[in-house]
């Protein structure tokens, strides 16, 4: 995992040998963090928000997600898995929710918990927060770590609008750790709590907790990896089923639209948005005060919400349909939330405001920034304006900016080079 050159952890890795320099990743990056130079892609760790778009778009298996190997659970005496709500949408209908959950347990855990257990509780906390913070409109959801980082990087003026309580899986971590240490004689470091997550942003949230993910877990496993291991043992599980609690209603948390529907009520108007481009468009409008009529906006970076995460195996629309079906078919196990409410009342789930990560500024000094902008505009007039990204920067503007910041030269422009008379490279 990428730890060098930056204070920021990222769960995305580049395998140089596989990279062909095709620039597909360069074009889908929402923060223009990727450049191809000498036919190899590099990611600027200060700009990366772990959205996973580059992982999804790379055809050459050159940008790969990192997550933890399952073996690490062996370092702990008591092992708990917390399953993200999108997980059960991955399985075809011949594998039941209960069987799949039992299989996860049998991968070596002592206990399996689910994000879906606390989503009802979350909805009530969100509503209360919206009502208590009438001065801030709209309130923006904070459980998608990629969205939160995108706001830190590109829309820092919206940081105060974020919902300032922990995300469901973080709350569960705190709750379970408390309960387990009370019930057993185990030390904190003997209890291992792991998340099974749908995206790289959640892996990053586990390894660099902040904001809505302040409670430290001991590792993050990819949905895809766990899915594979569950498939290996599912037959034996199906032949020897045990009784296991399920929370089908809570699974809808994984769907971007449903959270908004659940929060929406007489005095709260909610909007839901998913997909990086839509999220950016909406954030820009919020910045312009054009969506102040909404009380709450649910923002998810992936298509359809967490079911669209790049660590999933199933198509986001199929997974969504399955989860909707499951939530209609069955009843939730009643969950007792008194202990959660006690922790909430004690302020345990509140989070401190996040600091901006401004990367857009050309210079700290506005006068110098203006001079750089003038130079950028000068270079821009020399460039062809095709935005072809063949140079390895996403647009002609980005190349002009890279030139001014000393990270590239005009020679990087393939089109200019081709048209230059007498150039050696010309055919």
């Amino acid at each position: 995992m990428n730890k060098k050159d930056s204070k920021y952890f990222h769960a995305i890795q580049i395998l140089e040998d596989n990279c062909t320099g095709c620039t597909a990743c360069v074009r889908v990056c929402p923060t223009e963090a990727i450049r191809v130079r000498d036919r190899k892609a590099t990611i600027d760790p200060n700009r990366c928000v772990d959205c996973g778009n580059c992982v999804t778009v790379c055809e050459f298996h050159a940008i790969i997600p990192s997550s933890d190997p399952l073996d690490i659970i062996k370092n702990f005496k008591y092992r708990v898995a917390i399953i993200s709500s999108s997980f059960f949408g991955q399985f075809s209908e011949d594998i039941s929710y209960a069987n799949a959950k039992q299989a996860v347990l049998q991968l070596g855990f002592d206990e399996v918990a689910e994000e879906a257990m606390v989503t009802d509780f979350m909805i009530s906390v969100i509503r209360e927060y919206i009502r208590e913070n009438r001065d801030k409109r709209p309130i923006l959801s904070s459980n998608c770590p990629a969205v939160v980082r995108l706001i830190q990087v590109k829309y820092p003026s919206l940081l105060p609008n974020l919902f300032h309580h922990e995300a469901p899986m973080s709350i569960l971590t705190r709750f379970l750790r408390d309960r387990i240490s009370k019930e057993s004689n185990l030390n904190d470091d003997e209890i291992g709590i792991f998340l099974i997550v749908p995206c790289v942003a959640h892996v990053t949230a586990v390894h660099q907790p902040e904001g809505a993910y302040k409670h430290l877990q001991d590792g993050a496993f990819s949905t895809g990896m766990i899915y594979g291991k569950v498939r290996e043992i599912i037959k034996s599980v199906q032949n020897n089923p045990i009784e296991i609690d399920t929370y089908p209603q809570g699974l809808t948390w994984a769907l971007s639209g449903v959270q908004a529907e659940l929060v929406d009520t007489d005095d709260i108007r909610a909007l839901s948005v998913n997909g990086t481009d839509n999220v950016m468009d909406i954030l820009s409008r919020v910045e312009d005060h054009y969506l102040d009529q909404y009380d709450y906006i649910v923002l998810r970076s992936c298509t359809n919400g967490c079911v669209g995460g790049c660590l999933n195996v199933e198509n986001p629309f199929v997974a969504m349909s399955r989860i909707k079906k499951m939530s209609k078919d069955a009843d939730n196990k009643i969950i007792h939330v008194e202990e959660l409410e006690r922790l909430y009342e004690a302020g345990e789930f509140a989070v401190t405001p996040l600091a901006p990560r401004p990367i857009m500024e050309l210079d700290k000094d506005i006068k110098k920034a203006i001079q750089k902008m003038k130079k950028i505009n000068e270079f821009l007039t020399m460039l062809p304006g095709l935005n072809c990204s063949a140079c390895g920067s996403p647009t002609c503007y980005a190349l002009a900016e890279d030139i001014v910041l000393g990270k590239a030269s005009l020679d990087d422009c393939v089109v200019l080079k081709r048209n230059k008379p007498g150039d050696e490279d010309e055919d």
Partner: protein, 163 residues
Amino acid sequence: MAEYWYIAEGFEEKVQSFLTNNGESEVDMMFTVPEKDFNTAGKGSSEVKNLLKRLGVESGVLRRIAVASYEAEINVAAHSQGGVMHSAVFDDLIHVRFEDEGPGIGDIEQAMVPGFSTADDLVRELGFGAGLGLPNIKKNSDAMHIVSEKGSSTLVEFIIFFA
């Protein structure tokens, strides 16, 4: 031509000195705003916002500029026969000018009353024309100037200081 001036309290001297100095701007941006084209309207102000983010303009100021220029741009698209948006960035301020092809504002004072609107049905159908445009620009600007007359073109310009 009728004329309307607004200068926020405490900014009289700064605005005066800007107008008399007639200095050259550092960075300029031009956008055309076609009539009733609500798909592209807003693009100019969005680009200006991106530019100002690059320059590191403080986020509160940035949001005021974004609101004022978006309002004005939508106004040109909704109420005029099309026009141009010209943004000039100086060391310490932004000056944004909107010039359209008419049909002009009959009564500027009335147009400055919150809630007053002459928007036609198409514009209202698209969700615009609630009549907050001009007062909202004024609210977010340090100085605002309108020159217009019925049957003629309209100039709306505003100045917002960075600090």
